[in-house]
């Protein structure tokens, strides 16, 4: 029996009216917000409290996977240096908290803006390249950011930055080591916002432009799509999400160092996107959740952990080469005729 999660989910959604949709969405969001209450159940992770795992790695990685999905999944631009934007966000938080009195919420927009700026700079330089060449250059960019941080004593060099303050208490929510669920809720809000924005863009001009670029860049250009501009936008959008994840991560971890932003992270995030199903938001979310949860769950076997992780990837990619929930447009035959009359 094959379980077709996407189709049954999509059918449920397609058949629902407006109020039912609000109800479903509300129930799902509520359930996801309530996840920290499952602390202590079968979901428990051995070496880290479940509530913490919900924020990092799960929440942060889901957010980053969503951002990278716009670049890789929607626009077809293979970016192997996505960690760079995460690092820019995290280091913005680190440096600003070292030299200023700004709190996390004030730093967040600055971190996002700087990540976008780095996305613009990188994109403007490399987006004339295609395919493998683009991948190699972005890979290099990710490493440049890390190595620059490693060799700059002003940002602590290899020791990184310590004592980054937690966010201040907001709306009665405390943000510190004893209240990990607050962080989870914040990242969850960002994830929901990101999903809403991406869903909106997908059905409008930018979504079509990205999609056409992914499918045939030359024809897209000849049909009037400013491919360079929209590729740049994809990069900048992806960068902004990565930057936001970086700021949040730094404010929770209170400590950042260059080795956290190694090239492995870029590959891991890319693995989430491919594993879940390129271009499909829900596939990417499920992929990122599973692949960041499983390694935490099986942490007790320590060294063999990554081996099993790899095995899961290989088995999965053989069984479902297009990912867990691949992108597949559902055709609505017959609807068109009615609409046009």
């Amino acid at each position: 029996m094959s379980i077709n999660l996407r189709d049954s989910g999509a059918t449920l959604w397609a058949n629902a009216n407006k109020w039912q949709r609000y109800l479903i969405a509300g129930a799902v969001i509520l359930a996801v917000f309530a996840l920290p209450l499952l602390e202590g159940t079968f979901l428990n992770t051995p070496s880290t409290p479940f509530e913490m795992v919900l924020f990092y790695p799960i929440g942060v990685y889901v957010l980053m996977a969503l951002g990278l999905n716009v670049v890789v999944g929607k626009s077809g631009l293979l970016d192997l240096g996505y960690v760079a934007f995460y690092a820019v966000g995290a280091y913005t938080a680190g440096i600003l908290s070292m030299h200023t009195k700004l709190n996390t919420w004030e730093i967040l927009p600055i971190g996002i803006a700087l990540a976008m700026l780095s996305g613009l700079v990188l994109g403007a330089a490399v987006l004339r390249l295609r395919g493998d060449y683009l991948a190699i250059v972005t890979l290099g960019f990710g490493e440049i950011i890390r190595i620059t941080a490693l060799n700059t004593s002003a940002v602590g060099g290899a020791n990184g930055i310590t004592n980054i303050p937690n966010p201040p208490t907001t709306f009665g929510l405390k943000f510190d080591l004893d209240h990990p669920r607050s962080f989870y809720w914040i990242v969850l809000i960002l994830i929901i916002l990101t999903i809403l924005v991406i869903r909106g863009l997908s059905v409008r001009r930018p979504g079509r432009a990205w999609e056409s670029i992914r499918q045939d860049e030359d024809v897209a250009e000849l049909m009037g799509v400013n491919t360079y501009k929209y590729k740049l936008w994809a990069f900048i959008f992806g960068a902004s999400v990565g930057g936001a994840a970086g700021v949040l991560f730094a404010s929770k971890a209170m400590f950042i160092a260059p080795n956290i932003f190694s090239y492995n992270v870029s590959i891991l995030i890319l693995a989430f996107v491919v594993f879940g199903g390129m271009g499909n938001i829900w596939g990417v979310v499920v992929g990122a959740v599973l692949l960041s949860y499983i390694p935490e769950k099986i942490r007790f076997i320590s060294d063999a952990r990554m081996l099993i992780f790899g095995l899961v990837l290989i088995i999965m990619m053989n069984l479902r080469p297009d990912g867990l929930l691949p992108r597949k447009k559902r055709e609505k035959i017959g609807v068109a005729g009615e609409k046009s009359k």
């Binding site: 001009r205 079509r208 499918q215 250009e221 009037g224 936008w233 005729g337």
Partner: protein, 259 residues
């Protein structure tokens, strides 16, 4: 019919290494006419399309669109100015629906970009709705509106070709370049296509057409230009071109008794 030129090629030369794909080609396409571009395989017909739409930069010569030079213009800007094309081999966005294919083209004239779409500004919403209406109208005009929500790759071959024309019309062009739109069609499909092309012209578009099917060309063209080895060897009314010895020679070779 006015004799106002929409598209003018002046001494156009396109050289690839030692090969001159186009050599000093002059061509004028007037507003509201169906101009056919014919010639044996490898004569340089598609190269003309590629140079006009900005895929290649001509080695020499100039292209004027409504009197303005296209020199240094980006491909998407040329499209925006009013030149649209189809492709010899169908090149649709297969993973998108027919409607989305046309919408991608109608987007060329919308003013709202990413920011507008992100915050759903009134303008973005208005343009989105207007685009959809226009795209439906074009699909209806072409006669494939019943395929609007089907993926382009799942369309039957004939409808894919028609969708290519619809997508080109989506950019609201003044001139449409059709590259062998009847390739692979049976006689009745060809007849329907000929009617469609005339209908497109009557709607106010200018058509430049590459085609191999002579009966189709001769039936609907107002003028026929013939290319052979990158040079224009004839440019006249269909009936005149048909009897031009140079054209006959290019297609059939020199008669035995003449050599």
């Amino acid at each position: 019919m006015s004799n106002q030129p929409v598209l003018e090629l002046k001494n156009l030369t396109m050289q690839f290494g030692g090969v001159k794909a186009l050599n000093q080609v002059n061509l004028q396409v007037n507003r509201g006419e169906i101009c056919a571009l014919i010639g044996p395989n490898g004569a340089g017909k598609t190269t003309v399309f590629n140079v006009v739409t900005g895929v290649y930069v001509p080695t020499q010569g100039e292209i004027l669109f409504n009197g303005k030079s296209l020199k240094g213009k980006n491909r998407h800007n040329i499209t925006k100015m009013g030149i649209a094309r189809t492709f010899q081999n169908v090149r649709l966005f297969g993973e998108m629906t027919s409607l989305e294919n046309v919408l991608t083209a109608t987007d060329v004239h919308s003013k709202s970009g990413l920011i507008g779409s992100m915050f759903t500004t009134p303008r973005s919403r208005r343009e989105e709705r207007a685009g959809r209406e226009k795209a439906y109208e074009i699909l209806e005009f072409i006669g494939i509106d019943h395929r609007a929500d089907q993926l382009a790759k799942n369309l039957p071959y004939g409808d894919q070709r028609r969708l290519e024309i619809a997508r080109a019309m989506g950019t609201s062009p003044e001139i449409i370049l059709l590259d062998e739109p009847a390739a692979g069609f049976n006689p009745s499909e060809k007849k329907a296509l000929a009617e469609l092309i005339v209908k497109i012209r009557d709607r106010g578009y200018t058509v430049l057409l590459i085609e191999h099917d002579m009966s189709l060309i001769m039936g609907i063209s107002d003028r026929v230009a013939v290319l052979d080895f990158g040079e224009k060897i004839a440019d006249d009314l269909p009936s005149v071109v048909q009897n031009n010895p140079k054209v006959i020679e290019a297609y059939l070779g020199v008669p035995a008794d003449a050599s």
